[in-house]
Symmetry: C3
Subunit: 239 residues, 3 copies
């Protein structure tokens, strides 16, 4: 069984294409929305609220043997969830996802020009949230889709609460957990710039022993090629 | 509309397979030859002559809304063209191409063993040009083609004027331009060696915000897989 | 003609799928077993015994015009073979293989956590050999196969003699040889971790001028996709 945890500016509905493919392959897949995410909700949340909302979803559903998948920001969420309900999990799959070091915040893992941009956007908002400018979304997040898809999906994004990116994450327990871990890297993902600040191998290496899976695609492969991503999640997530 | 600017040792005719595919897809595509390039021409040119010859081509043809594509050496040419006729351009696409820093020359971006080799070859020539040795062409430029293709295409190459590689390029204006930019990286291109001196992300990162596209292939994918490259140029070049 | 030299924990039989494909394409292919490797043999060998066993195989068979392919540990073996019978060889192909520097041992090219692990495993054995733990094999060596394949192939592995990994290799002559060389890199091979300790370009760069070929796959692509690997070996190994 898969539980798919989305990233910043997303909500659970952005996994729809992936869920559809997983279900067509006979898998059970859930895609809950993280607290403070999506449209028309209170954005005043911290990182722990985010983690707790996914823990609550898993516990309430009495889910077990879960392959827990995190995309982007969702990586830090599944790391926190793994500390709280490790016995319910079979494997963690990080999809171009953050793997925070203990005692740091997510902003520490973003290159300086993003830190500056995000701080400015949060200050300019009325509710301490950040919204991606369309040109950045189109060029660096979803460059492998056509313009119409980029425009249509941009309208489904919602402002990202800034506080979870600033909260210090302990996560010492996560790094001691013996759970199997995979890193799924889409090779054209430049949402974090290639090189010094890249997703892989900078963040994947922090997992210790891990399984690597790769496929062509941008940061938003879950929107540009959901079926292909689902197949790769199955490969990355199996025993 | 595409204008395709070739690299060293090439002339416009080397784009023939790419142009054919682009036209079959309904696009207009031009592939002019840079000044001092091709067979039977005066090789005594500097980098500015190279740039001006492409500017002249665009202005004479009254071309507008141009997606300007540069391969290899052609990257430095399209950067110079962009400074002179920015209003005629829609986007720049760098295909395993140089992206010079202001105040440097192209040789500065070549690894030491190439600098030494190129200087020696230029000195040994009668007209300050350099010609690639076949083993280097076969192994590091077109290793994904069969031997017959490598031999046949080698015979179409012409000596490269050395001066444009030594000329200091200002290009301060280029780096301030707000034009959309893409970098198309063929993942087996070892014409520049992988690692410290690689095309990507070393040179792509200089573009600031850019769109990345990747495909399998050597430096001479325009000869080894022109149709595949054309499709990727469309993806990299669209809005 | 291809001579395929296996890596650690393997013997010649692990090339069976590759040999079958090469033969179906009309090639001659041999896959000898290195001294001290395989089941039920004396494991008390040094690196020179390994090299000599392959030299003997080539000389005894009066083989000539050989494309000599080495996988993993086999890279250090074909480097040694090339010093002894260069005139019998047409090209060397390193498949995610070691390319030792003169005066070093293979352990020098392994990251610290492997050195520690291998030393401990050798000490715990009764015959100075090392055996891979299954979780490491499954996650870092053959992660692109299904679990059944991983389990079945794990049972065919045999303990690796530790001495050849500790022996100092001279190989000064190898690095002066003018033989054509290729590096075939499977892009998901994390048997050596991506980044600082990666196969490519860390080890490939030591070849000087070389031809690069790449394909998707883990360290055990010879087991997970033998037919695809055989096709790539043909591409990497042709003139």
């Amino acid at each position: 069984m898969f539980v798919l945890v989305h990233g910043s500016w997303h909500d659970g509905s952005h996994w729809a294409g992936v869920v559809e493919r997983l279900e067509s392959l006979g898998h059970v897949a859930h895609a809950p929305t993280i607290a403070g995410h999506g449209h028309g909700v209170d954005k005043d949340v911290g990182h722990e609220d985010c983690v707790n909302s996914i823990v609550d979803f898993i516990v309430a559903g009495e889910l077990a043997d879960v392959v827990l998948v995190g995309h982007s920001f969702g990586g830090s969420v599944i790391a926190g969830v793994a500390e709280k309900v490790p016995d319910r999990l079979r494997r963690l799959v990080f999809c171009n996802a953050f793997v925070p070091l203990p005692g740091q915040c997510l902003l520490d893992d973003c290159p300086p020009h993003y830190r500056t941009l995000f701080r400015r956007l949060a200050e300019e908002s009325t509710d301490n949230t950040i919204q991606l400018p369309f040109p950045l979304w189109r060029e660096a997040f979803i460059q492998d889709a056509d313009l119409e898809t980029a425009q249509r999906t941009y309208r489904t994004l919602s402002p990202e609460p800034f506080r979870p990116l600033q909260d210090i994450l302990e996560l010492a327990e996560f790094h001691r957990l013996d759970l199997p871990k995979s890193y799924l890297n889409c090779t054209e993902d430049i949402a974090l710039p290639p090189g010094e600040w890249a997703w892989h191998p900078r963040l994947s290496a922090r997992l210790g022993q891990y399984r690597l899976a790769q496929m062509p695609g941008s940061h938003e492969t879950l929107l540009a090629d959901p079926s292909g991503l689902a197949d790769k999640i199955v490969e990355a997530g199996r025993d």
